[in-house]
């Protein structure tokens, strides 16, 4: 009940003209970056960070959240019309969505995706409204050991699922932590790894690394494939009665599954959409239609990835642990605005948190309105070749990074880390854990020091306290399960009798 009252307060903040405009801008930009090739929500938020300096954190975060969940809608359009997922979370949609488009039913696929996304987004935002506050309340009892364990869990969870290799993910997270040690140690005042350069005393800014990895690095990786593709026509976006009958249960199942998976740290929308697709195929009376244009194959994963996007905000807002790469950047933005992510956010910045949550209800409605009549208009954007887009993106990266500290050295850093980001993309090293490592590095160090001071130097404090122990165990499982699964999968299978050797 209290949550609903707080939500009411959130609506009164979110419905002010400025915040409403930022919400519209966020979902519009999210939809746009979801549609446009070579730029995702992470890059879009990274590019917009310098523009939000000194502005109202609530309005900025409403916009960032809008970009995040709006991109899920936009990614669907590319998946259905050209079979190129705009986001990794819409990969499953492209299987049946594109087949529907080939059969001349692109409009129905986009329509059901938009309606399913709206329903799922609303259900999961309701879940966020009800689940996040008690979780944050419970987490208020956290001390330094629990915070330390939480940071470990967040890093490990994101690292373990970000790329194809757990090793590379964890290494990238450690590299981020390592970069966080550059500059003055806030505890002792000693300057570390500054290479004798005064401008490194403040360390490496989160914005610089984010813009470099997700802006410049992404451009360098994608500019080689900058050609346009043929786009299917969009007609009749309103689904038929039969479409709706076949889609309503997949939408509901996708909403709940997506939300639950999104809540788990590190999993996010991509895994949610995979699971929803597999589940729908298993439950379907016509599994043979999957892969050939089954509308359930669009409705389930689309609902699931949108539900997961809101679900991933639960651990981020309540615990300060991001559920995905993009929420890791939003977490960095929170810190950039001088806020402390974690359970205290709900008590110390309640107006901001509830306004962001309320804006998600509004944003989902805006997206539904935008997507049903305007799907064809957004589809036309697909005809803009990437070669016209990426030079302005590079220009924005340079100017944006310079503007945050008026520093030319930051421009050099952005080029250097951009080259590293390109290599990471090329060699399949995930970039999100690196950014998260840099963001969480100071909290990691201070909570470790405080914990060990409390325990007189013994590390058993992380095992003796039940919450910290549970979080550490979860972190160990996140690493161990994929490694064990990989080892089991690589073991040669015994040859059974009758089977050819």
């Amino acid at each position: 009940m209290e949550a609903l009252m707080d939500l009411g307060g959130g609506f009164s903040t979110a419905l002010t003209p400025n915040n409403l405009m930022m919400c519209f801008l966020g979902v519009f930009l999210g939809q746009l970056v979801g549609v446009l090739p070579g730029i995702g929500p992470s890059a879009a938020i990274a590019l917009l960070l310098p523009l939000t300096f000194g502005s109202d954190p609530t309005a900025s975060l409403i916009m960032f959240a809008g970009i995040y969940y709006g991109a899920q809608y936009g990614g669907t359009i590319t998946s259905v019309l050209i079979s190129v997922p705009g986001e990794s979370s819409t990969v499953m949609t492209s299987i049946d969505g594109y087949q529907m488009a080939i059969k001349g039913r692109a409009g129905a696929a986009l329509g059901i995706a938009a309606i399913g996304s709206f329903i799922a987004g609303t259900i999961s935002t309701l879940g966020l409204t009800l689940l996040a506050p008690p979780l944050a309340q419970a987490a208020l009892a956290f001390g330094p050991p629990e915070y330390f364990a939480l940071v470990v869990l967040g890093l490990v969870a994101l690292a373990a699922v970000s790329g194809r290799s757990v090793l590379k993910g964890v290494a990238a997270g450690v590299a981020g932590l390592l970069l966080a040690t550059i500059g003055i140690d806030p505890q002792s005042g000693v300057s570390r790894f500054d290479f004798g350069m005064v401008w490194l005393l403040d360390g490496i800014e989160f914005i610089v690394l984010t813009v470099a990895l997700f802006g410049v690095g992404e451009v360098l990786a994608s500019c080689t494939a900058a050609s346009a593709r043929p786009v299917a026509e969009v007609k009749n976006v309103l689904p038929t009665r039969e479409d709706w009958r076949r889609s309503r249960m997949p939408i509901l199942r996708g909403s709940f599954v997506g939300f639950l998976i999104g809540v788990l740290p590190g999993t996010g929308a991509t895994i949610a959409s995979f699971i929803a697709y597999i589940m729908e195929k298993k439950l379907s009376r016509h599994p043979e239609e999957f892969g050939k244009g089954a509308i359930e194959g669009v409705a389930g994963p689309e609902s699931s990835n949108n539900a997961a996007a809101a679900g991933a905000l639960v651990p981020m807002l309540a615990l300060g642990v991001p559920g995905s790469g993009t929420t890791a950047i939003i977490l960095g933005a929170l810190i950039m605005f001088g806020l402390r992510p974690g359970p205290e956010l709900f008590t110390q910045n309640a107006t901001l948190v509830w306004a962001v949550i309320a804006s998600m209800y509004i944003g989902n409605l805006l997206l539904l309105i935008m997507n049903l009549p305007l799907a064809g208009v957004f589809a036309r954007l697909l005809k803009v070749p990437y070669k016209w887009l990426y030079p302005p993106i590079l220009a924005i990266c340079l100017v944006g990074v310079f503007s945050q500290a008026n520093s030319l050295e930051d421009c050099w850093l952005v080029v250097g880390f951009g080259a590293i980001g390109w290599a990471m993309k090329r060699f399949d090293w995930p970039a999100a854990p690196m950014v998260l490592g840099l963001v969480l590095g100071p909290m990691f160090e201070s909570s470790l020091r405080q914990s060990l001071t409390m325990s007189h130097g013994t590390a058993f404090i992380f095992i003796n306290r039940p919450i910290a122990a549970a979080l550490m165990l979860a972190a160990v499982l996140f690493i161990a399960i994929p490694v064990i699964a990989g080892l089991l999968a690589s073991r040669p299978r015994p040859v059974s009798a009758g089977e050819a050797p």
């Binding site: 523009l51 505890q187 000693v190 570390r192 340079l398």
Partner: protein, 151 residues
């Protein structure tokens, strides 16, 4: 087939390992422990060691792992040209401000790398440069050095 040691993946993993090694060695310049808690050098030592070990493990998995079918990777030339253009632009920012290098960067990519029509390229590059100046200098009041005499 290219020797496994000479691949970009391997070189990248070794690069990270060397960075970890540098941090490990460098951490001994700082005190490691003070009282009950770690001091300035402790976590850099831990991070450096971890990065070194993990990167070596990645390199080892590339070396000893089953030879996978080589993935089709995009050619390097265009990305390297864009990167080189960025280096030139950043090097010139300190001397001639932002307007000319940013406009020049876009024109170079449109005309030389992408072979796009001159007039359309000039219009897009001009509009983007003007918009950036408008947004950052006039709306956000950021002291962006647009030309030489702004420094």
């Amino acid at each position: 087939m290219k020797h496994r040691f000479l691949t970009g993946d391997m070189g990248f993993a070794i690069g990270w390992a060397l960075l970890g090694l540098y941090w490990m060695v460098g951490s001994f310049d700082y005190p490691l422990w003070s009282g009950f808690a770690p001091d300035s050098g402790f976590l850099p030592l831990v991070y450096g060691t971890l990065l070194f070990l993990l990167s070596v493990a990645v390199a080892a998995s590339l070396w000893f792992g089953e030879a996978e079918a080589e993935e089709e990777r995009e050619p390097l030339t265009k990305s390297l040209l864009v990167l080189a253009a960025l280096v030139v632009v950043v090097a010139s920012l300190g001397f001639i401000g932002f307007l000319l290098p940013v406009f020049g960067l876009m024109m170079f990519i449109y005309l030389y790398i992408e072979r796009l029509p001159l007039l359309r390229s000039a219009v897009v590059a001009g509009l983007v440069t003007a918009s950036l100046a408008l947004v950052f200098v006039h709306w956000l009041s950021i002291p962006l050095p647009l030309v030489t005499w702004d420094f």
